[in-house]
Amino acid sequence: MISDLVIDTRGLRKEFGPKVAVADLTLDVRAGEVFGFLGPNGAGKTTSVKMLLGLTAPTAGTAALLGRPLGDRPARAKIGYLPEHFRFHEWLRADEFLNLHGELYGMDRVARGAAVPRLLELVGLADRAATKLGAFSKGMLQRIGLAQALLNDPALVFLDEPTSGLDPIGRRLVRDIIDDLRQRGMAVFLNSHFLSEVEKTCDRVAFIRGGRILQISSLKEFEEEALQVVVRVGQPTPELLAGLERFGRNVALQPGDGRISLTLADETQLPALAHWVVQNGHSLYELTPTHLSLEDRFLQVVGEELDE
């Protein structure tokens, strides 16, 4: 169903002179989905979001948000955006700031009167309503920016690194907010570097590097996929290593502690593996299955030159 797609891009491209910031952005995001957009610094994440929001004009390609072409005003009324550089008019008070942005969303006085205190409460700034933004800390600015993005009950929210300035409590808060948005059927497009968080919040992720999408997968797929296992026995022998080859790939003896790591195709092989090790007279001290973390995958897909 077409109308189910809240983001639908085809071959979006952005060049800055000779520099290709985004080469070919083709992806879709459905309602109720939290989509993580991951990539190293300079990969083109922010540029992609800016194109979708009409801040920069694409060099080529087309896209639709909420089923409407880019720049469509009724669609924009239902889109929230927390910019990467969350700088706002610092001479405004927090409540004035939210009121201003509510007005720009076209919300009437009643709607603003209800939304502003609710959002201040949501982001934990209820007691700072009368503080000027100039006196806000970085994390507080990010929180108020997030509140701003949620003012008009958006159907789609773009968050460009929403937790970069936040303390652990704030990051937890953002996660809860995102979960809540998902439950209410809204879609979230999330640029982030905090992979452990993305792992906890996102339904699907795209890896991007050098302006190209390298891979789009759902986190569920990742979970069902290959399993990393660490085996520790009393005396690892060459025969043991050779024997383990029958169960999985990448068998390797870790230097130092004598642990052996290998990758299994799926979980159901675990009991057989344990049985075989014991039966061959090895004393089994440890058998730890772990899923590849998102960070491992990120490094695998995007390459080791992550310069964060």
Partner: protein, 277 residues
């Protein structure tokens, strides 16, 4: 409408950043200095002259000098307050969360223009009103055709404001400031050259002045204003000293200035709507 939301925001910014109060305070200081100077000069003059038209002439001279200063001040203030407004918000990315709202970008530009236009015009009215009041209270003199002249000054101030807003849609704050002030200076110099040219009957110099008025008509508008200020009974305009308009710009120049302003504003709207942020 978003235009008015932004205009109000602009006005509030001037208030919050104490721009309004500093400008009013300094304006009051300016009026005070003028008032004191006017009082003492007038006292001196009164002891020497007694013909009413001679006294009126002195009042015209001093009031014109005051208006000249006001014209300069208001133009400079118009540039200073508006030069960072768009480029600054683009550079700091404050604008990002604004223009992604369901409003057309041009309304942001018009809104800011409107906010500053009201501010600058109120300031002009305050200073001109102050000068007139001082002169009237001290000498009882009232300049009859001041309205039209002040209208020309207002147009000049809006013109300078528009240049600075339009520049801000494309240039960095610092480049925009340099451009706007240089343009202003060019018009001033061109006006001076034209005066001298007219004085020594040098056509080339007059033409330089005319061309510079076409590039930036603000100074020509001031000359038009002076032409309204000085009464036709004065046969020799040099008597008014450096503030005199030896060559009065034609009405066509005023029309040109209006067209210039509108075209520039339209350019600003278009330019800002199309740029990458």
């Amino acid at each position: 409408m978003a235009v008015f939301v932004i205009a109000r925001l602009t006005f509030r910014e001037a208030q919050r950043r104490r721009l309004l109060w500093v400008a009013l305070f300094m304006g009051a200081a300016f009026l005070l200095v003028f008032g004191i100077a006017f009082h003492f000069i007038q006292r001196d003059i009164e002891s020497q002259l007694n013909q009413p038209e001679q006294l009126a002439f002195v009042s015209i001279l001093l009031l014109t000098a005051g208006l000249y200063a006001v014209n300069m001040l208001v133009n400079v203030v118009a540039v200073l307050v508006s030069v960072t407004t768009i480029s600054g918000e683009v550079e700091s990315h404050t604008i990002d969360a604004i223009v992604t709202k369901p409003i057309p970008r041009w309304q942001v530009v018009i809104g800011k223009w409107l906010g500053y236009a009201v501010l600058v015009l109120l300031y002009l009215a305050f200073l001109v009103g102050g000068l007139m009041l001082i002169v009237y209270l001290r000498s009882g003199f009232y300049m009859n055709n001041i309205g039209r002249g002040v209208l020309m000054m207002a147009l000049a101030a809006l013109l300078v404001l528009t240049v600075s807003i339009a520049g801000g849609t494309r240039l960095s704050t610092i480049a925009n400031g340099v451009m706007t002030f240089m343009l202003f200076g060019l018009a001033f110099l061109g006006g001076l050259v034209e005066q001298v040219g007219a004085l020594i009957r040098n056509t080339a110099a007059v033409n330089v002045g005319i061309v510079s008025s076409l590039i930036m008509p603000a100074d020509a508008l001031w000359k038009k204003a002076v032409a309204y200020f000085q009464p036709t009974t004065i046969s020799n305009p040099f008597e008014l000293g450096p503030f005199a308009a030896i060559t009065e710009p034609s009405t066509l120049m005023v029309v040109y200035a209006v067209v210039y302003l509108v075209a520039l504003l339209l350019f600003a709207l278009r330019s800002f709507s199309r740029r990458d942020l």
